[in-house]
Symmetry: C2
């Protein structure tokens, strides 16, 4: 095994791939969206290829595009739990929003997933920026951007208290003396603020990993600050090497500012990929996906994202002027990224649609395994990232291609592990198991009593 | 296969059994509480034995007894989803409270569990009567009894609207025309009341079963009314044949009052069982469990349940006078049951502890397979139930005993199926798949347009 720094690879899973209309390909299995077998097949391929994680995005609303666009997935807790039962080593990362769930439930569900997977759970902490989710939870409007991130920080801190509410030695299982648990080592959390009031303790022992791995994807100022304070796996969408390098340096320096070790924060940009056995096969696949595009869908999605009614402009004319990013409450960083891309590349509306249909703002790339590996290597060794979120444009075929062609090439170059190094996700990512904030206190208490 | 009416058997699962201190037995595996393997082993035994369901209780607080009492389980959605991946036919019933969860999340999680299990999900609808759960969700006190049941009814009705928000024919998967779903057959629910406001639609297609099977366990007046209106599988704790018969007749007649078919409501009392190969083996197992009792635990639990400080009375003296049931906001029916039992059997405190430690108010029984089968048969044929919730006093051993000894005896008598009759839980329970409330409306709309 190489002793060089190696990259982290996350498989971003959905039902039919990350190209907007990949579900129309002959190889796509859109009927599989609601059945475990499709996801199980993909998780096993990803595990066989030694991906560090399988990752599921999430949202609590239908959205507006289901006429032309595939549903992405089942619900993450249930789906990943089902996959926990049929996989052994791959990490299982679920997205859960801090704006529309309860800290007690969220802490508990992740604790349970971490227990039943033997320490393989990860939580992608999102604040739910887009859409009309609030209408499904009795709210007239969404929380404002800054407020969302304040809630998120407090939510996560509270969740860590709940996970720590059982010290690691709290379970005794002492049959002879009839002592199941040492209640001196189980603690109420007594959290009380204007936002949350939770008494605790949690009704599950501390997860095997201490906490699930904390993933985060905010790219705005607030988002990067949250990532720097509590994130361990940082998802991001970056179009160019230079932008990715700047983001990497920025987040790592913020991490240091909070007294954390920058090596304990792994930055993984998205990479929307098409792999071909030959260059021309890759181009054919790319063309096939381009032909699947439904312009109406692209116009609809982009009009929403960019806050401009693109339907009223000619498809082959330039993208009209966009609003000031400061006015955007939803996914502000993605908006800025697209705005920059449109301006620097002077895109027509049709070109913009083609450009984002495969990547939704993430870097897209089509090529042979060698070219894909070159691309990943240059970002990885060029100070732009610690690994990637692999978003196959077509699924399941694109995962099969990546696993069969690209992974061996990366391994040959010593850039990717050939075996999981540990059993927990933390071990595999090289992240320390966090200390328990209550154990420190009980040590102190004991010290005081002894003195 | 017999054409006689056959009983429904549900396996109530927890980590170490339903006797309060069964975790102390040599055969108990208390360390398994947080690991999938113990639950997987039991679910597979239960499925092999053709149990209709594996059922998990739940609560969102730790409770006060973990010093002496085992934790019961992992979190139900995650645990049952993991089991969905490794089982094929057994139903998966999770308890979820309508007082401390969001309708959108709950409807969605059950839809997802139903999809990934191929139509095997059930929901035990509870209102969370006991304890201090409210303190984990920012509330100073619990909802009052009547209010809890009002919320529960509205919650379930809203959930059915969310499940129905996708008509069964809404998914098109039409690759050629680029039509993924027929949005005319996907409906907002626009539910708005003083309690809940949910816009919908759900972001998952209608579950395979239409709705998960709706289980309910309320035994108070409010509880029985809810059961009669929406329940399909009714859990109950009954001590005597006469009480069980009265409950059965009562609930079935209420069901008719709401215009429902009483055959579509299955009543299944709890049965806390110890099975021995011989009568003396059963008695030995019973004695072993009695010896495991920790009086302090019993005193604590019963003082809470009965609202009397039993610690201040002699263990071998009579149970002191109990408060008026009308003053009980928590589990009122269980309180009444225990009060009746204490009065009719004139129990001392120690006897009461022994009496409830194995059953927590449910009927307890120890005997050979033949005696157990006799007992089940007499209730089943005597108009007291449609089946049972089997609560082995010790786990996993008590399940193994029941599966190996009692199930074949029941099958021999033609009282229990020898194979699952369908693939969904509804099919196996003999429950119809519910009609979609929106489909009826769209039919009407179409009719109007044609006219
Ligand atoms: C790889 C990746 C995955 C994401 N997954 C989700 C998701 O599942 N749900 C969600 O609401 N947002 C998701 N986001 C969006 C982010 O949570 C966040 O809203 C976005 O990056 C904008 O953050 P900002 O408001 O700080 O700019 C994801 C972002 C990235 C880069
Ligand atoms: C077999 C069975 C299982 C139950 N499981 C739960 C449970 O998991 N969680 C819960 O809060 N209550 C549970 N209960 C309690 C009932 O939901 C309900 O609170 C109780 O029967 C009292 O109802 P009442 O207030 O209508 O009298 C269960 C009851 C029975 C009989």
């Amino acid at each position: 095994m190489s002793t060089n720094r190696q990259m982290i690879l996350n498989f971003f899973m959905n039902s039919t791939g990350f190209h907007e209309t990949a579900w129309r390909l002959p190889s796509a299995e859109p009927e599989g969206v609601t059945s475990l077998s499709l996801y199980k097949k993909m998780a096993l391929i990803a595990e066989q290829a030694k991906f560090h994680t399988v990752f599921l995005a999430d949202a609590y609303e239908l959205g507006e595009n289901v006429k032309h666009q595939a549903l992405n997935r089942l619900e993450p807790y249930t789906l990943l739990s089902a996959l926990a039962g049929v996989t052994e080593r791959i990490g299982l990362v679920a997205t859960v929003s801090t704006s529309y769930t309860e800290p007690y439930h969220t802490a508990r569900l992740f604790a349970s997933l971490d227990h039943l997977s033997g320490g393989r759970a990860g939580w992608n902490i999102v604040t739910t920026g887009i859409g009309k989710t609030h209408l499904n939870f009795g709210r007239e409007q969404n929380y404002e951007h800054t407020e969302r991130y304040q809630r998120a920080l407090e939510f996560v801190q509270l969740a860590t208290k709940l996970w720590d509410s059982w010290e690691d030695d709290a379970l005794l299982f002492d049959k002879a003396r009839g002592l199941y648990a040492d209640v001196e080592h189980i603690h109420a959390v007594r959290h009380r603020s204007d936002i949350f009031a939770v008494e605790g303790p949690l009704n599950l022992p501390r997860p095997p990993q201490g906490y699930p791995v904390l993933a985060q994807a905010g790219s705005s100022e607030d988002g990067k600050e949250l990532a720097a304070r509590i994130g361990e796996l940082i998802y991001t969408a970056q179009q160019t090497l230079a932008d990715a390098q700047a983001f990497y340096a920025d987040v790592k320096s913020r991490v240091e500012k909070y007294g954390r070790n920058p090596n304990e924060v792994k930055i993984v940009p998205g990479f929307s990929v098409i792999v071909g056995a030959t260059e021309s096969e890759a181009k054919e696949k790319e063309a096939e996906l381009r032909e699947s595009i439904i312009p109406e869908l692209g116009l609809h999605r982009l009009s929403k994202r960019l806050k401009v009614d693109l339907f009223s402009y000619p498809l082959d004319g330039p993208v009209p002027e966009l609003p000031d990013p400061a006015t955007i409450n939803e996914n502000r960083s993605r908006f800025e990224l697209m705005k920059n891309m449109i301006e620097s590349e002077k895109l027509t509306i049709r070109q913009l649609i083609e450009r984002v249909s495969g990547g939704n703002g993430h870097r897209t790339f089509a090529g042979t395994a060698e070219k894909v590996a070159d691309e990943l290597e240059s970002w990885f060794t060029g100070g732009a990232c610690d690994g990637f979120v692999i978003r196959p444009q077509a699924l399941p075929s694109g995962l099969e291609d990546f696993a069969r062609l690209v992974v061996p090439e990366l391994q040959r170059r010593g850039l990717f592990h050939t075996e999981y190094r540990g059993t927990t996700l933390r071990e595999n990512l090289g992240l320390a198991r966090p200390n328990n904030q209550f154990s420190a206190q009980s040590q102190q208490r004991k010290g005081v009593q002894l003195a």
